[in-house]
Symmetry: C2
Subunit: 192 residues, 2 copies
DNA sequence: TAAGTAAACGGACCTTACCCCGCTTAGTAT
DNA sequence: ATACTAAGCGGGGTAAGGTCCGTTTACTTA
């Protein structure tokens, strides 16, 4: 892919905007390829060409938010951004990530797909890299790729899977707080 | 459900056996509800009545294996079974779990489902409980429910998601070993 | 600026998960 | 043993995901 053709880019933007609208109006699992195409004034084939699969749509949506999140991490104010101690950054990162995932929970879940390989693998690459880097800077000597992957899983999974359904309840707040403190505790123990 | 009717139980057994056959012969994603029904000599409606959804079939398959695995953990020989130090058991548990997940990777992935809530939530309840108990016995003072959940994620996710596709390569072996050592390292750091 | 080409478009078509509802049968109580 | 009933059975119908390929359109190069 040298560069995306103008019409393709425009249609992608239209589709994503429409998807966002529908997401707000009717919820993720009411978004069908058919409905998305029609509401966007495009053909079904076009939708599939852009996103390949249904989860692909939500991967694209998630990607947007992910970019903004990365921005905050890479060049935002500390302790999330650069300038603080590695450990503090790691703790802040976990908290921020948990918040991000909760906000985008519906999208992230819809982006899942058991059939196609590595549902949200690539998207987490940055995250893993970042965790690994911070661990390194904090002086942790270990198989950092693996450790980063494991820690990343500890952030992703609870929000997305185990805790997904009962999140409407009032205990959502408390649960996320427990996850966040748990993360801080975990990180501190690791680097002791 | 007081007790399952005889014909229902028989059909369930037939369906599970057939599913296992097809799994070995043609792979998970070639198993359609239609094909499974026909090959079992049953109607499509029956299949759905038993397993509710397509992922449901694989949940059922996984459940079988899971039961056997739990058996080994609860009453097998140490260090996986009872009788060893909590820490050693935890390390052994991680290794065993990784092996189990790799063996059942195809099934586990097919059991995933982004639409329906908590794909493999209930199945992991036992696992989380066990990790929590061992941590407690090892004298770890923390929010054990949360920590156990996070550690469990560290076992599940790498095998099932991030590392799923390239597992056909020869580096699978080495990768699992890295995960296992990583787990041991992680656990040791936590309890230091 | 005109011809060429690679990409994008659109919608017909296929497959498959899942729903529905009338029929059948296994367990039970008299 | 027979009548009753709740559960199981089956297959037709629907909707949605995914593929294909002929047509159109945006960029490139001479």
């Amino acid at each position: 892919m040298t560069t995306e053709r103008a019409d393709a880019a425009r249609n992608r933007a239209v589709l994503i905007a429409t998807a966002r609208e529908m997401l707000a109006e009717v919820g993720a699992d009411k978004i069908t390829m058919d409905a998305l195409a029609e509401r966007s004034g495009l053909g079904r084939g076009t939708v599939f060409r852009r996103f390949k699969t249904r989860p692909g749509i939500f991967m694209a949506l998630l990607d947007d938010g992910e970019r903004a999140f990365q921005e905050r991490v890479l060049s935002g104010p500390p302790p999330l951004g650069p300038g603080a101690e590695p450990l503090d950054r790691l703790v802040a990162f976990g908290r921020a990530r948990l918040g991000f995932l909760r906000e985008n929970r519906e999208i992230a879940r819809a982006a899942f797909d058991g059939r196609t390989p590595v549902p949200f693998g690539p998207p987490t690459t940055m995250t893993r890299l970042h965790i690994g880097t911070l661990l390194h800077q904090a002086g942790v000597a270990a198989d950092l790729d693996i450790l980063a992957m494991q820690l990343n899983a500890a952030l992703d999974v609870p929000v997305l899977l185990y805790a997904a359904p009962e999140c409407d309840g009032r205990d959502d707040e408390g649960f996320e707080e427990r996850l966040a403190s748990g993360w801080a505790d975990l990180v501190h123990r690791l680097t002791r």
